[in-house]
């Protein structure tokens, strides 16, 4: 790990282009007439061959990936939509068609309403708690300072550690007689000790603390990556014009960071809606509902697979998908449109 951040960040484009210029020049130089003649003869041959070669190459190269993708991603989701209409215990083919009954049950279940509320809370609070702090931290760390690369590695540690480890560690620390309460007593804040995990009015905040801790590093790194692609000349020019450091950040860096922030928010929203691992590991399937931290995904697993009601579980999955899809499409339509033009509407490019 050498400490040379500036040089290697735009890896992709420079390395590819740099080499190509050299390569192209070397090939073209030796005999200008020869290659041209050869090229024309070979292109005739190529034309005849390409009739069958090109589709074959496409099939061989892209085929395996597409088949695997359709089989294990698209097909199960389609089947979920189908299974969702049945009352089905998961054995043999589903036969007990119940129409929309599963959906009616879910949508009128107060337990699901709670889960939905918790998801909504997590979506909003994740944005509010992580966004501003992460931007601030990224701005701080983006300065030329000693040990910057080490800081970057270390703040990414929580993101790399698995949810199971985070859940196990934090549930021990936040236990009633765990390290956090003990520490609070030691520093004289006895009044602050609470039942972090079991008290329903506190539990969701504990969850937010853990989520913030685990995922803020990702936001910071994403923002840092975004800042790397802002040309340094802009900051230099504004410094020459007499702008202070923070003025430069506010007038130049932040506006140019907009696309990155919007993409981060998108990823954060989708992740919050799908949240499962942390809640399920820390609170388990039964406690989550009573501790006030259940999410749509834990509801799905508890009421679906664990209860053996596969038709019902699939219906929850479909609802979860539709809710995520609607939110994602709305977000893309109104917020991300400028940024993703070309990225998602690929064909035109």
């Amino acid at each position: 790990m050498s400490d040379s951040r500036g040089e290697d960040s735009p890896v992709l484009t420079t390395s590819a282009e740099g080499r190509s210029v050299a390569g192209g020049g070397a090939h073209a130089a030796p005999s200008p007439a020869g290659p041209a003649a050869r090229a024309s003869s070979s292109s005739v041959r190529r034309k005849r061959n390409s009739d069958w070669r090109k589709p074959l190459e496409i099939a061989v190269l892209a085929g395996p990936g597409i088949i695997l993708f359709l089989m294990f991603v698209i097909f199960p989701v389609v089947m979920a939509a189908y299974y969702g209409f049945f009352k089905w215990k998961g054995f043999g083919p589903p036969t007990d068609f119940v129409g929309l009954q599963n959906y009616v049950t879910i949508l009128t279940d107060p337990v699901f309403h709670d889960a939905l509320k918790h998801n909504g809370f997590i979506v909003v609070m994740s944005l509010v708690m992580q966004g501003p702090v992460a931007v601030g931290l990224a701005l701080l760390i983006n300065q030329k300072m000693r040990g910057r690369s080490l800081v970057r590695v270390l703040i990414f540690v929580p993101y790399v550690v698995s949810e199971v480890i985070v859940g196990t560690g934090w549930s021990l620390m936040l236990a009633t007689n765990g390290a956090v309460n003990d520490l609070l007593v030691k520093i004289g804040l006895e009044g602050w000790t609470v039942d972090w995990l079991a008290d329903p009015s506190v539990a969701i905040w504990s969850l937010m603390i853990i989520i913030t801790w685990k995922y803020i590093g990702f936001a910071v790194i994403l923002f840092l990556a975004g800042m790397q692609s802002i040309p340094e000349e802009l900051a230099e020019a504004s410094a020459i014009d007499g702008a202070s450091y923070w003025q430069t950040q506010r007038r130049i860096t932040l506006p140019l960071l907009g696309p990155t922030i919007r993409i981060w928010a998108f990823l954060s929203i989708i992740g919050s809606l799908q949240l499962f691992d942390l809640v399920y590991i820390i609170w388990g399937q039964y406690v989550a509902a009573t501790a006030g931290t259940s999410t749509m995904a834990t509801y799905m697993v508890a009421e679906g697979r664990n209860a053996g009601n596969f038709g019902f579980g699939n219906a929850v999955a479909v609802l979860l998908f539709l809710i995520s899809l609607i939110i994602a499409l709305t977000y893309q339509r109104f917020v991300l449109r400028r940024d993703t033009e070309g990225a998602l509407t690929e064909g035109k490019k």
């Binding site: 090229a39 892209a62 994403l222």
Partner: protein, 291 residues
């Protein structure tokens, strides 16, 4: 804490640093230090806790070990179950990464360098895959894996994981491969290389930086994957480490120190792997964010 700050000054290149536009405020260092502290304190708690005794942990949950006990770690390291589960995780991680890289590069190459009817649709298909996270598909996936007879087998985890990692891989790699200039392909073709020859001789070597990013993300995701193994694996000997940690933690819930030791050991590979290649990931993300 000394370990955190010590290596940094040695590595910093002073001449370049000092050429910066302004002097860095000491407050910046303080904030960075606090941030790092908050980030790694819980992880240190887990690691240090593994060196304590249960009695100590019960009496003084937030203290340091009075004497550093190695026995917890030694116990875990001498248990065959830990190595079995670590082996499972490694096997799944390596095969998932290999599958993602090979299939991802091939599919991305087609999307980036061929013009054909349906290319836009194919790209949209993969892009739409980003909207199908594991959570949504896991229930029907479980039924499908069961009917394929892959329950409780590592293949039942590897195949879906490859499939679910493909969208991100394609999204990251396509712009990468498209950035390889057309002239390079023409030059190769003038020299008599076919499109496939161009793929193997030029594209594969040139795409290494992107592939490394994608590969690390796939490996770390696989190493930490919880939900799919939870559905598919049902015996301790086929568990991957996340499931192993969880079942160990519930089995030995009174033996907190040993649970902490087991937990610490299971996070080492992902941490080592990640910190070795961290720079590459940020580099790769820089490209992806730029679009």
């Amino acid at each position: 804490m000394a370990a955190i700050t010590a290596p940094a000054p040695a590595r910093a290149r002073r001449p370049r640093r000092n050429a910066g536009l302004h002097k860095v405020n000491p407050v910046v260092y303080l904030v960075a230090f606090l941030l790092v502290g908050v980030c790694i304190a819980p992880v240190l708690y887990i690691i240090i806790g593994g060196f304590r005794t249960n009695a100590e942990i019960t009496q003084d949950p937030s203290g340091f070990p009075s004497t550093w006990q190695v026995s917890n770690y030694a116990d875990v390291l001498s248990s065959s179950l830990f190595w079995q589960q670590a082996g499972n995780s490694l096997f799944v991680g390596v095969l998932t990464t290999a599958g993602v890289v090979v299939l991802g590069v091939m599919a991305s190459f087609v999307l980036a360098r061929y013009t054909f009817f349906g290319r836009g649709a194919m790209y949209s298909l993969f892009a739409a895959g980003l909207m199908f996270p594991m959570t949504v598909a896991v229930t029907p996936l479980y039924i499908m894996i069961r009917s394929l007879g892959l329950m409780n087998s590592l293949a039942g985890i590897i195949l879906p994981q490859i499939a679910f990692a493909l969208p991100v891989t394609v999204i990251i790699l396509v712009p990468f491969l498209r950035a390889i200039p057309k002239e390079l392909e023409e030059a190769a073709s003038i020299d008599g290389a076919s499109r496939l020859g161009f793929f193997f001789r030029m594209v594969v070597p040139l795409s290494v930086p992107g592939v490394v990013t994608v590969g690390i993300l796939a490996f770390v995701a696989s190493w930490n994957s919880y939900m799919l193994p939870l559905f598919i694996l049902n015996s301790e000997s086929s568990y991957t480490l996340p499931l192993g940690v969880q079942s160990f933690a519930s089995q030995y819930s009174v033996d907190t120190a040993r649970v902490l030791a087991f937990t610490s050991l299971s996070m080492i590979p992902a941490l080592v792997f990640f910190s070795l290649f961290e720079r590459r990931i940020v580099g790769g993300l820089t490209g992806a964010v730029k679009g």
